[in-house]
């Protein structure tokens, strides 16, 4: 077991390294650096000013060197003016006014420095921590709604395949999962939050949820995320349940004279949950990046919004950190689902 986890962690580090290198390559293409210079020093600066900005702020070195600086294995050069004052360089970002001899030589991931967000003007770790917390809250509520609802719907639909209940619930879950979030979200806002219809039960903006999530301001974003994911999990659960219900041992249990209720709850359920378990675990990474649309729609400044803002503004350090987080989340949930699988199904051994 320990070996398995260590191997998985190794894979994780390697994947993160490859991933960040690709992101680094793309965000450091010359046009992207010019774009960065313009967002930083003013949209309307001249080409000569762009070039001098790029050089002075430590974006001028060869790409591999700068990737090494980001990792913290190479020292980052510091630009100084005629009087020896520090005027720019990787390690100076976010610390204006630091004297030249106080600036550290190394400031990369290995030193625990994830860099400075040029868009949000704060250290990347602060931005990521805050945004992950917010998205975490949204995801937690979405999961708390989605998973139980989906399992109930799936089990009810799957235990009597072809019944009216099955048909009804299946239609519902197909409808919810085939309605994209940007459609259902807009419909929810129009129906329940706008002056147009006048119900105004909830608010169509979750911006105030940053200050404290309430039933009013958080229901619609949670419902939008949860409904979309729910249909999918419910379909998986239904299929799995329907399959289990046709198995030999269920017939045996029925023939023994056990009630339908006991058969479903005690014999079918545990086996039927193995397949949806993987699907549920796969929802984690999907939710982390899939909330982009919901966060934009409801003006909720979370992780997805940071990703969009980072990409729009070519915020190199932020995008690198975002991709590391994404890699960790994807691989960690896979690890968890492998371990969870073994617990649910004694026939599988993790080795």
């Amino acid at each position: 077991m320990a070996g398995f986890i260590i191997r998985r962690l190794g894979v994780m580090a390697l994947t993160a390294l490859c991933m960040t290198f690709i992101v680094f390559l793309l965000t450091n293409l010359q046009p992207n650096l010019e774009k960065l210079a313009k967002t930083q020093a003013g949209a309307r600066i001249t080409d000569a000013e762009v070039a001098s900005w790029i050089d002075r702020n430590g974006y001028g070195a060869p790409m591999l060197t700068r990737y090494g600086e980001w990792l913290g294995v190479l020292p980052a050069p510091l630009a100084t003016d005629a009087d020896g004052r520090a005027v720019g360089g990787r390690c100076l970002r976010g610390h204006p006014g630091l004297a030249a001899d106080e600036v550290p030589r190394f400031c990369g991931v290995l030193q625990g420095d994830w860099g400075y967000s040029t868009k949000f003007r704060r250290p990347v770790t602060e931005v990521i921590a805050e945004r992950l917390q917010r998205t975490g809250l949204l995801m937690a509520w979405a999961f708390a709604t989605m998973v139980p609802l989906a399992l109930i719907v799936g089990v009810l639909a799957g235990m009597r395949e072809g019944s009216a209940l099955d048909r009804g619930l299946s239609t519902l879950s197909i409808a919810t999962t085939s309605t994209p979030e940007y459609v259902s979200g807009v419909i929810f806002v129009a129906l329940f939050a706008s002056s147009m219809v006048g119900l105004k039960w909830f608010t169509g903006s979750a911006k105030s949820a940053v200050e404290g999530a309430t039933f009013q301001n958080f229901t619609l974003p949670v419902a939008t995320v949860a409904l979309y994911g729910m249909g999918y999990i419910a379909r998986m659960t239904r299929a799995s349940m329907a399959e289990v219900m046709t198995a030999q041992y269920i017939r045996t249990a029925r023939l023994k004279g056990l009630s339908f209720r006991a058969v479903v709850l005690r014999h079918a359920l545990r086996n039927a949950l193995i397949a949806p378990f993987t699907v549920i675990m796969l929802q984690f990474p999907w939710l982390l990046t899939g909330v982009v649309i919901v966060e934009a729609l409801f003006v909720y400044p979370g992780f997805g919004d940071a990703l969009v803002q980072g990409a729009q503004n070519n915020d190199i350090d932020l995008l690198l950190a975002v991709s590391v987080v994404a890699v960790i989340v994807v691989l960690a949930t896979q690890l968890l689902s492998d371990i969870g699988y073994a617990l649910l199904n004694p026939r599988i051994r993790v080795a």
């Binding site: 309307r44 204006p96 949000f120 169509g204 903006s205 934009a296 729609l297 729009q312």
Partner: protein
């Protein structure tokens, strides 16, 4: 309420001779009241004195004094800050106006109001300005605000070596060899600065009231106020989150010089660029004021019971070919016939209707001077759509088969206006491909697109706009328009303090713009803002200015 300007009224200022001349012109019907007031206050007259010159009482301002205290929440993009001289968005200045202030302020009616200056005077030919600094103003560090600060800022405004510094173009009459000319800025005493201009410039004070001209502490020039918070204003940042929200609260340790600063707390909330998100926020009661309400949302916000305010401006969307841009090795727009053909294919009332739902007024012709807004507007022949002539010119240039790529930003009115132009070009028989870029990438190359639309903000006079965007050497010359005759006329017009005389030159400048087919300038916009009932002094400003010191609740 004693306003800074009425306090200054008690002084017996020597009336500027040009102001008397403007007053005569106004009485003779050569100049309307708005432009008279703008010109006269730019020369150093108080607005009351200006009104007195034309025999009218100054209209009472701010009949309702706001209550002291309260919180106001304003929907606005929360942008990152840098050196104020490099501000490229008025939002940035709105964020900091509660901390770093301006020498003077442009009012909604086009007049200038003294702020950190108590008053100023210009000599007869507008080559020498005397700036009198308001006594009793202190920095929030406790230091007094003096002539040294003003001189240091003026020096900084003239420095062209700073990346993105847009102030030198406004201070051009003092700039020599990339910095303030030798002896141009003279400190007379602690509270007086005299400026010696290289050439006459009657618009200098408008430049000092413009949003990048925030006055920084003399030791902090070139820095962002977010890093140290030093300023003369009554407020300080409590929270500063780019793209999210910015909170200003009254600075408890600072004695503010003015009467304002009614509110305890101002929150700027970022709802992104989608107006439907703003509407959702308004419906959710998350803010009290919009920064700018656009297009169909103007009626929707009014229907919510919010108070609408609007102002006519010279802001517009310029749809321009770049004469120097190369596409596949050729310069499609170097040929004046191609440019004229594009302009002639357009009926300017259509972009006005389809782009901004008629919320503005049609331009007279394709030149960048706004009727009824700019004091130096000169009337020349009106634009008329002429498709046969457009086809003839394009045919003659051999460009009928060329596919024009028309680029615009992805938003509401700019996209729709550009679409309307593209549709008319297609109707005329030209090939047009539309490219719509998101706001974050559009601005990276905005001067280089071969054919694209750009929104231009309001400027107080037409000559300022022509200098800023169409002079050969201008950094923002996005048309690639380099014309020796035009430049010479610009020099001539800039040096003329007298409007009637300037108009003759302006007419020639305007005609060159039309004849050269420099750009399609279909309309001038009116700007709208909505606020909940009870918010005072938040009326829409032609330059989107929000001075948080003036705001308050009834």
């Amino acid at each position: 309420m004693t306003t800074p300007s009425s306090r200054a009224d008690t002084r017996s200022d020597r009336t500027h001779p040009a102001a008397r001349m403007y007053a005569r012109e106004h009485r003779a019907g050569l100049m309307d009241r708005r432009e008279f007031l703008g010109r006269a206050t730019a020369l150093g007259l108080t607005s009351a004195a200006a009104y007195a010159l034309i025999g009218q009482p100054e209209p009472a301002r701010a009949q309702t004094v706001p209550q002291r205290g309260g919180t106001l929440r304003i929907q606005m993009d929360c942008r990152e800050l840098a050196d104020p001289r490099t501000y490229d968005w008025s939002e940035k200045a709105n964020e900091t106006r509660g901390i770093i202030e301006y020498l003077a302020e442009l009012r909604r009616d086009g007049t200038l109001r003294p702020m950190l200056l108590e008053r100023w005077q210009a000599n007869e030919d507008a080559t020498e300005y005397t700036l009198h600094i308001r006594p009793g103003v202190t920095w929030n560090t406790g230091e007094p605000f003096t002539a040294k600060d003003v001189a240091a800022n003026l020096d900084g405004w003239c420095d062209t070596s700073v990346e993105g510094n847009s102030m030198p173009s406004r201070m051009a009459a003092m700039v020599e060899d990339g910095k303030a000319a030798e002896g141009a800025i003279e400190i007379v005493d602690d509270l007086t600065v005299r400026l010696h201009l290289l050439r006459p410039d009657g618009t200098l004070m408008f430049g000092m009231a413009d949003y990048p001209a925030a006055v920084m502490h003399r030791d902090k020039i070139g820095t962002s106020v977010a890093d140290h918070g030093i300023g003369t204003g009554a407020y300080m940042f409590e929270e500063f989150k780019v793209g999210e929200r910015i909170v200003l609260v009254r600075n408890p340790d600072h004695a503010y010089w003015g009467d304002g600063a009614w509110l305890d707390r101002i929150e700027f909330l970022d709802y992104g660029t989608d107006p439907s998100a703003w509407l959702a926020g308004a419906d959710a009661d998350e803010f009290d004021v919009t920064h700018e309400t656009v297009s169909d949302f103007i009626d929707i916000f009014s229907a919510l019971g919010w108070v609408e305010s609007s102002v006519g401006t010279s802001s517009t969307v310029v749809i321009r070919p770049n004469q120097e841009a190369e596409v596949d090795g050729v310069r499609p727009y170097a040929d004046v016939r191609v440019r004229r053909a594009l302009a002639l294919a357009i009926d300017n009332s259509v972009p006005l209707e389809l782009g901004i739902s008629g919320r503005g007024r049609e331009s007279r012709n394709n030149f960048h001077v706004a009727p009824d807004v700019h004091p130096d507007y000169a009337e020349i022949e009106a634009h008329r759509q002429d498709i046969p002539e457009a086809l003839r010119l394009m045919e003659e240039a051999g460009m009928m088969d060329y596919e024009h790529e028309l680029v615009s930003i992805d938003d509401d009115y700019r996209k729709n206006t550009t679409d309307a132009v593209a549709a008319q070009l297609r109707d005329a028989g030209f090939k047009v491909r539309r490219t719509v870029l998101p706001g974050s990438t559009f601005w990276n190359d905005w001067t280089k697109y071969p054919f694209s639309s750009t929104n231009w903000a309001h400027r107080e006079t037409g000559i300022q706009l022509l200098n800023l965007a169409y002079r050969s050497t201008a950094a923002w010359n996005e048309c690639g328009f380099r014309n020796v005759e035009f430049d010479a006329l610009l020099d001539q017009a800039t040096a003329i303090a007298d409007d009637t005389e300037r108009r003759a030159v302006m007419a020639r400048l305007e005609r060159i713009m039309v004849d050269e087919g420099v750009a399609i300038i279909p309309y001038f916009r009116a700007l709208y803002r909505h606020a909940k009932p009870g918010v005072l002094n938040i009326e829409m400003h032609p330059k989107y200015e929000i001075n948080v010191h003036h705001l308050g609740w009834a």
